[in-house]
Subunit: 212 residues, 2 copies
């Protein structure tokens, strides 16, 4: 409408954000323009900086700005238990509850055949490389806790990982290093997003995890 | 929580946007990080570009990326009638209705003693300079339509402008150039934001404007 390409481009880019429709994007763009002159510069710099400094941790694939994330580099955490989550924000949610002191592994999504999300799109291969490496180094993982969303995609991912881990365990003929697999209890509301659970529910869910 | 300063800075800047709380800002920041690598770069560039290219039109104070905005530079619009609005987005709303073919003047806000918004914070001085200039050039303004929000701040601004224009008119002893002042009719819902009105209501409001 305004025929200002720079403004239209900004509105267009803002509509790509989750929950931001064309009307909201327009309001945000106008707000940015109306703000004291340097706000769009400051926001622009913040975006540039985040893209330059923040990357995936090479061990657990959580976000970090160091070589290893703060959980992988923390020597006081338990080494032989890994909690698997879909998103980095889920790590924050579990940490806030204080109920887990092991390591994490972030899949960056969940399996969804309908949306074309296959195991290759997630950090599953990297998980098994990690399990293999831990075994070779003589510090094998003893338990994996699945803290995935309680929805169709989460359930699909649990089934897939349970099967894959069974195969992994069978490679050991003496079964001395069998990895136990558990899932956080369904104190988490069905259909809900793990990111929004309160501390007590999250603690209960960790405590009552069900052995698969 | 994550102790990643770059990420915390981005979340902090995003919470400054209207309607974006800390939780939403965090979700947006995580989404930006998860997106294909160049999205934060693209958004950052879009922000930089908008701040570099878009500025206020020196005549009507609408947003523009040219010397004059598209409405001030349009030779086919009526010169002697000015519609006064609070925000650039209000211009878009009125244009979309198709009910007005004169010029605009954007105040960039409304008077609000409670929030400390005084006439000096708005483009009111510039409005009267514009009226003065038009008179000197022999093409005086004949009518001013106030299309301000139907809330306390809008009403306060209407009262202030009516008084100021009365004084302006009194400077002319022969009253040949008396400027008529009108306000768009209250087809606009009371307490609502002018930006959200449908076309028919806006046309009715322009049509039934009340002479003050």
């Amino acid at each position: 409408m305004l025929h200002i390409p720079a403004l239209e481009k900004l509105v267009h880019e803002l509509t790509k954000l989750p929950g931001i429709g064309p009307k909201t994007a327009q309001r945000l763009a106008y707000y940015i323009l109306k703000s004291r002159a340097d706000y769009s510069e400051v926001l622009s710099e913040a975006l540039k900086r985040v893209s330059a400094e923040v990357h995936d941790c090479p061990e657990c694939f959580n976000f970090t700005d160091s070589d290893l994330c703060k959980f992988c580099s923390d020597v006081h955490r338990q080494d032989d238990i890994i909690c698997i989550v879909e998103e980095p924000s889920d790590v924050m949610r579990i940490e806030a509850s204080g109920g887990f002191r092991g390591r994490y592994h972030v899949l960056h999504g969940a399996l969804s055949p309908l949306d074309g999300i296959t195991p290759d799109d997630l950090r599953i291969k990297e998980l098994f490389l990690r399990l293999e490496k831990a075994k070779t180094q003589g510090t094998p993982i003893k338990e994996i806790i699945l803290a995935l969303d309680a929805d169709l995609e989460g359930d699909t991912t649990v089934l897939y990982l349970a099967k894959a881990l069974q195969n992994f365990n069978l490679q050991d003929h003496d079964l001395t290093h069998k990895i136990k697999l558990s899932r956080i209890a369904h104190g988490v509301p069905i259909g809900g997003d793990i990111d929004f659970v309160d501390d007590r529910t999250m603690n209960r869910a960790l405590e009552n995890r069900v052995i698969l």
